[in-house]
Every structure is written in C-alpha cells, then in structure tokens.
C-alpha cells in the first residue's frame, strides 16, 4: 500500500485536476497521525468562536468577484459551500448539535439549569473521512464539522477529483481572521489538523485507516459505504454514514393554479436539480405532480423543461459517455411512449408519461422524471430509508405530508428550491453531535 499525501496541512501537492500518484509518499501512517494530533492540540486550545471566524472569513472571500476560489466554486456548482461556511449558519449548526450551547466544545457549561453538574463535549480524536469523488462539497462539509468539534481529520479522497478537496483546504489555510480583540489568526490553525491522502490499494489501506479512526465518516455509494462499515475497527469507534439515497419533489395541485405560480415552482425544482450536478443524495430525480390543478402534470413538465433549460445553460462538467448514452436511451423511449423535453447535446432532459408510477431510476445529467399522482399522499408509499429529501411545493398540507413521508423514512422535507442546502439534522442525525463524547463534572 502506498499513501500519497495530497495536502499536508499547509501545502497542497496536487493541482485540482492532477494525478494523486504524483504526490509525495508517506511511509508511516503513525507519523501522519502524530502530526495530526499535534495540530489538534492547537485546535483544542483555541476558542471555537475563532474557528468559526476563520470559516466565516473563507465564506466571505470565496464569494468575492474575481476571487480565484470563487471561480472554482462556480465551476463546480457548489455555490452553497461559501454560504454554508458563514458564521450565522455554523453557529446555528454547532449549537443545535451541542445541546444548544456551542461553548460546550470549549469547556464545561451548565446545560441542565436544575443540575449542579456541568457538561462538556470532548473531541473524539481522529476522524477518518472517506469522501465520494463526484461531490467535492461533501469533503469540505465533512472536514469543517470535524474541525469545529476540534478533531484531527484524515481524509481519504477518491482518484476522481482527487485534487479538488486539497485545493479548498489549501485555500482555507490562506484565510485570515481578526478577532474582536484585534489579534489575527490564520487558517493553518484549522488545516494543521487535516491531511488529505490518496492510497493506491483500496483493500489494505482501508483496513489500516479504519483501525486508526476514532470516528469513521463515510460518504458514498452503497457498495463503498458497506465496504467501509465492514472493515475492522477499534472498540468504541463511532460511525457516521452518509450512504446512498435518492430524493424527489412533490408538487401539489394548489401550486398549479396558474402558469405564474407553476413556473415559480418549476424554477425552484430546476435550481435543485442543477445544484451539486444532480449528484447529491439530496438532488431530485423524480418530480411527483398532483392532478387536479389548473395545469396538468404534463403541462408542468413542459414548464419544467423550459426552466431547466434556463438553469442548465452550461454543459455539465462530468457526464461520462455511458451516462450520456443512458440519457439518450431515455429520450428515445419517452419520445416514443410519452413526452420528452431536452436540450441539444445532453445538458438537460425532462420526461413524462401518464403511465409512470413510483420513483424513477436516477439517470443523472440533469434528468428529471415527472410522474403524475392523484393525491400527494400517494407518494408516501414509495418512501423508505433509501429516500432522503422530499422537496415540497405545497400549501397548508406541507406539514401533514411531511409527517407521512418522514414516517416512511424520508429525512428532510424542505421547501422546493432548498433541497441542496446542507443542514441539520442530516440523514437522521446531528453529525457534529456524533463527533464528540459528552462528559460531565
């Protein structure tokens, strides 16, 4: 097994589109861990407010016109990342995860007013992240949460897009934040507790990394996360699994009263489909549309085609030939037995048939399957632990449908247009809560 170090806490050794096997070799996993632990000690000694301040500074910088990182963010369709890094968001996420008091990660705090005992969230230690290659955003979100909870972070990236996460980590190392007392801290305070690596042999490396971990964080497809969960681990190791799921949209008849309102919903659906390159577990593939409105589901599909065409002007960056072929297959099928709206090339596609039921097989490449339902509550029958986000375009029935869907396994029911936002709870948990040990004194 060879360990290639793509980012060593200060320096990245790979271009965003570079070959990870050209990076420096590390022969001792123990040395990596020891370096990380040293970086973690600096984190532990720093108030979490400073860590959030650094993230906030990164989020601000990465939205500035002309900023190089901002251009990268735009190119990868991960505009959500700098917004997610902003102070208001992170403070909320951390407080939610830490029982309402983010100060618990800095020291003992009185969480239970009636008790004399105080509580504290101790970092678990070393987080090993396995990050899927197609959604670089996930890697950053995973690592930032590990850092805010003051853990050391070893990130194993996939060969695909191996250089993207190191790019953002190196950019984070460059960030500076001036504290209220005037003292300045820089991003290495965060990144000294991170290493991004690539390993050439998945099997032996995976087992070695797994036994190092205090927390195993796995993002990816079913086969990948199952393989990680089946690896040997030390007693007490925590697992945070973001496995394969699919997401959908439900559009109620009340949103189809007129073209203006329906188009607004279609615009939001299109926005959700384009975000994250439709690769996220929170990206919609199936759009359930209720019959009975002034506009039919088919008419909504047509509107959706127009709006998706507007939202997906750029050629998607990562359509594999096999994927393009699948998209063409669906187009031909729906041209023959239903309705299809699509671009030249394979930028986007919308399909509809009166006969279709249930969840569509995801096709990716900004492909949406519109399916009619007589009643939005029918959708619950198609839900399970494999369905993650249901974007809802509904009126007063929203919470009632959310109750039905979440009872069947759906994890989130945001308004349509907000499906791509990473928020908590996620996949049924507060991830940062799982990255700490709760102790009392």
């Amino acid at each position: 097994m060879k360990i290639f170090v793509l980012f060593d806490g200060r320096t990245r050794h790979i271009e965003p589109d570079g070959d990870p096997e050209n990076c420096p070799l590390e022969t001792s996993p123990d040395r990596l861990v020891n370096e990380l632990k040293a970086g973690q000690e600096r984190l532990r000694a720093t108030p979490v407010d400073d860590l959030i301040g650094l993230c906030d500074a990164a989020g601000r910088a990465w939205t500035q016109p002309g900023n190089e990182v901002a251009r990268m963010v735009g190119g990868l369709a991960i505009g959500f990342l700098p917004l997610w890094l902003r102070r208001a968001n992170l403070e909320t996420l951390l407080a939610q995860a830490l029982r309402g008091d983010s100060g618990a990660i800095d020291g003992f705090v009185p969480l239970a007013p009636s008790s004399k005992r105080q509580h504290r969230a101790q970092p678990r230690g070393l987080l090993v992240h396995w990050v899927a290659g197609n959604v670089p955003l996930l890697g950053m979100i995973s690592v930032i949460q590990g850092l805010l909870t003051k853990n050391a972070n070893l990130v194993k990236v996939s060969r695909q897009n191996a250089g993207v996460l190191p790019y953002f980590l190196a950019a984070l190392a460059q960030v500076r934040y001036r504290r209220p007392d005037g003292k300045e801290v820089d991003g290495t305070l965060l990144t000294d507790a991170v290493r991004a690596i690539y390993v050439d042999r998945e099997d032996s490396a995976a087992a070695a990394l797994s036994t190092l971990a205090d927390v195993r964080v796995a993002w990816g497809g079913r086969e990948a996360v199952e393989a990680i969960m089946n690896l040997p681990r030390r007693f007490g190791t925590e697992d945070i699994v973001f496995g394969p799921k699919t997401s959908f949209v439900v559009v109620g008849a009340e949103k189809l009263a007129g073209e203006t309102e329906a188009r607004k919903a279609a615009t939001l659906v299109a926005r959700d489909a384009v975000a994250l390159g439709q690769r996220g577990c929170n990206s919609p593939h199936t759009i359930f549309v209720e019959r009975g409105g002034a506009l039919t589901p088919e008419a909504f599909a047509s509107l959706l085609g127009e709006e998706l065409g507007r939202a997906a002007r750029q050629v998607p960056p990562d359509v594999a030939p096999q994927e393009a072929f699948q998209i063409l297959s669906w187009r031909a099928e729906y041209d023959m037995r239903g309705q299809a709206w699509y671009s030249d090339g394979v930028r986007w596609s919308v399909f509809y048939s009166d006969e279709d039921r249930g969840l569509a097989t995801p096709c990716y490449g900004r492909t949406l399957f519109v399916r009619p339902v007589d009643d939005v509550f029918e959708v619950a029958a198609h839900c399970s632990i494999n369905t993650q986000t249901a974007g809802l375009a509904l009126g007063e029935r929203r919470l009632k449908l959310a109750e039905a869907l979440t009872a069947r396994g759906v994890e989130r029911c945001p308004e349509v247009g907000q499906m791509s936002l990473y928020e908590v709870p996620w996949d049924g948990m507060y991830p940062m809560d799982r990255m700490v040990r709760w102790v009392s004194a």
């Binding site: 197609n134 990816g220 359509v319 969840l359």
Partner: protein
C-alpha cells in the same frame, strides 16, 4: 415491393468494399432514405420519434451524420416492429452482458435474406469464396433451434453457412465446458492431411479461456493447415478483467497454434445490425463495407467528431426491414482512423473500437438505489 425498394437492392448488389473513394455513398444515402421511409410508414413509435427529431423521411439525405440516430438500447426498452406479426420469422435476443435486459429484435424474411446475403459476401471477402471446415470453439450442445434464439447462437449460425463441415472443439460435462485437446489435435491433423485450411471460430473470451489457456498450460502447440484463420468476436470486456489485450491474445495464440499471426481476426458486430461484420486487419483497424457507414460522436454534444478523436460509435445501414435499426448509436467508444484512403484496393471509412464507454466513477451519496427498489419498480411495471 415499391419502386423505392430499388435503392437497397441495388446497394446489396454492390461488391462489399468500395474500389473508388466514396463511390457507394450516394447509393447508401438513397438506401438509408428508403429504409427510413419504410419504418416511418410502418412503425408508429419510430415515426413519432423521427418526427420529434424534426426530420422528414422523404427529404434527400445529404449527410448521413445528420440522419436521426437511436441509441441501440432502445430495443431493450420499446418493442419496435415495422412488419406485421405474421411476417416475423425469428426473434433475436442479445446476450445482455452489460445490462439485465436483453435487446429484442424481430426478423422477417426480407431482413433475414439481406443479412445472410451481406454476411456471405463479407465472409467471402475475408476468407475467400471456397467453403472450408469450421471448428467452433464451443460445445455442440450450445446450439439451439428455437424461434427465439440467443444472439450468440444466431450470430454463430450465420458464420457457419461458409462452412463445408462443422466441428466443435469443446465438450460439455455437467454444464462445464472443457477442451478435448487430443480430439482437436486429431481433427486438425486430419484436415492438414487433406490440405484443407480451417477456420477456428468462437467468442473471444472462450477462445482464450477454453482453448488458448488450457493448451498453453499443457505446453501444447497445434499445427494449423496452411491458410487457416482464427475468427473471434463478442468483445473484450471479460478479457480486460484478466488484463488480456489484443497483443497478448495474439501472442498467446501464436504459442499454441502454429500459424501466421495476421490470420487472427477479431470480428466486430452487434445483434441489432446482424449481417454486417467488421473484421479487423489483425491490429484492430476495421473497414466499413459499402452497406454501412460509421460515425463517431461526441458523448456530450452528440455532434460528429473529427477523425481520430474518440467518441461513441454510430453505425448506419439500410438492412433492417422488420425493425428500425437503421442508424444506431452504441455505447462502445471508437475513433475514425482514415477515410477513403486506399488499402489493399479497398476504400471506405476505417475505424477502431476502443471498448465500452466508461460509466461515471464513484458517485456521491446520490449513488444508485439499492436493487430492491428497482425490483419493486420492475414488478410494478410488469403488473401494469
């Protein structure tokens, strides 16, 4: 038969390979137009799709690259027939190696006759018009006689019309295939004594796995009669997993059969356009005959690519009469090597097949659903 049927018939009377640059293309375009008119008139789903592409089947075809093309997988998804059921004489199913659903195409007499005719002339062009003994690298038990034939058996049957006699190299024992090397050696010795060049024919992976590997392991080298050929087909997917490429296969064949390496030919073709075969020149380069044209398309823009650039392969032929398999895009990657450059007195489009198009690599958390969900979906579809 309508007057317009003439273009296809005329094309089929043409020698298999062009002897002048582009001499056949006007006729091929006319034949493709004739075929499109037939399918638009007789296959309503196809007509609907064709119209959706903004194409007029009656319009002259000026550029084959502008003819609307279907992804070949459409035959796994939609029943497309351009003749009445009573005219169907055979149903072909593909091997479904890369998906769970086999492709299904129906053959009528017209299609079957065209396929046999083109296959016969293309095989003659490859190995001469004299029939020769064929040794099938399979077991005899693999042959079926049902109306619904697997594409493997159907494809092989077509080749065997060039056989003066047919032998099978493998034995089947309890469902396991095994080479009887002694029997094969005796057979080849007998044919050599009669000075009969032989054709060893079979799937690429079977040739390697069931013939070449056992012979090599046993340290045997069998003499093939002079002028013999090895034809293999079916693709490299399984051998790629074993890191066996063309060069290695040919080298291994040379070790176990005493023969000229250039007589090993990899034949490319596919169920949905049976009758047209693309044997390579021993080094992976193939020539499109006059009955078809090959186009390489950009996977994202779908536009034709410049010669030399790799992309998705599209094949156009007017042969299919019973189903609209005229212009088909495959999920195989390839590239155009040259166009209308003379080679052995033949002109046309030369191309390479580079293998199956790659899929997306490791996905994010939005990876495909567990199989159970698909099964539910398929069941619901079946019940509907």
């Amino acid at each position: 038969m309508t007057a317009q049927m003439g273009a296809i018939d005329e094309l089929l009377r043409h020698p298999p390979y062009a002897t002048q640059p582009g001499e056949h293309r006007p006729l091929l375009r006319a034949a493709v137009r004739e075929a499109m008119q037939h399918h638009c008139a007789n296959c309503p789903p196809f007509a609907r799709w064709y119209q959706k592409q903004g194409a007029d089947p009656h319009a002259e075809i000026e550029d084959l690259a502008r003819v609307p093309f279907l992804p070949v997988s459409i035959f796994k998804r939609v029943a497309l027939e351009s003749v009445s059921e009573r005219d169907v004489v055979r149903v072909l199913k593909s091997s479904a190696t890369s998906s769970q659903t086999p492709s299904r195409v129906v053959l009528d007499r017209i299609t079957r006759d065209r396929q046999m005719r083109t296959l016969a002339v293309l095989m003659s062009a490859l190995m001469g018009s004299t029939r020769r003994p064929f040794v099938v690298l399979d077991a005899a038990a693999a042959q079926g006689a049902d109306v619904e034939l697997s594409a493997r058996v159907a494809g092989l049957r077509g080749y065997l019309m060039m056989a003066s006699e047919t032998h099978y190299a493998l034995d089947a024992h309890n469902g396991e295939l095994e080479l009887n090397a002694d029997k094969l050696e005796d057979l080849l010795s007998g044919l050599q004594a009669r000075q009969l060049p032989v054709c060893l024919i079979g799937y690429t992976y079977m040739l390697y796995q069931y013939v070449v590997v056992p012979l090599a392991r046993a340290g045997r080298r069998l003499q093939l009669p002079a002028g013999s050929m090895v034809l293999h087909f079916g693709g490299w997917k399984r051998l790629e997993r074993q890191a066996v490429d063309r060069a290695r296969l040919n080298a291994e064949i040379e070790k176990v059969f005493a023969m000229d390496e250039t007589c090993v030919r990899d034949v490319y073709g596919f169920t949905e356009q049976l009758g047209i075969i693309y044997p390579d020149d021993g080094h992976g380069v193939r020539l499109a005959p006059v009955y078809s044209e090959v186009i390489v398309r950009d996977p994202v823009t779908l536009e034709p690519l410049p010669d030399g650039a790799p992309g998705l392969l599209e094949f156009i032929t007017p042969l299919p009469h019973s189903y609209p398999g005229i212009a088909l895009l495959l999920d195989d990657m390839g590239r155009i090597v040259s166009r209308d450059r003379e080679h052995g007195g033949r002109y046309g489009t030369r191309f390479e097949v580079l293998g199956r198009a790659r899929g997306s690599e490791i996905r994010g958390c939005g990876d495909t659903l567990p199989e159970q969900i698909y099964q539910v979906r398929e069941m619901a579809r079946a019940q509907a």
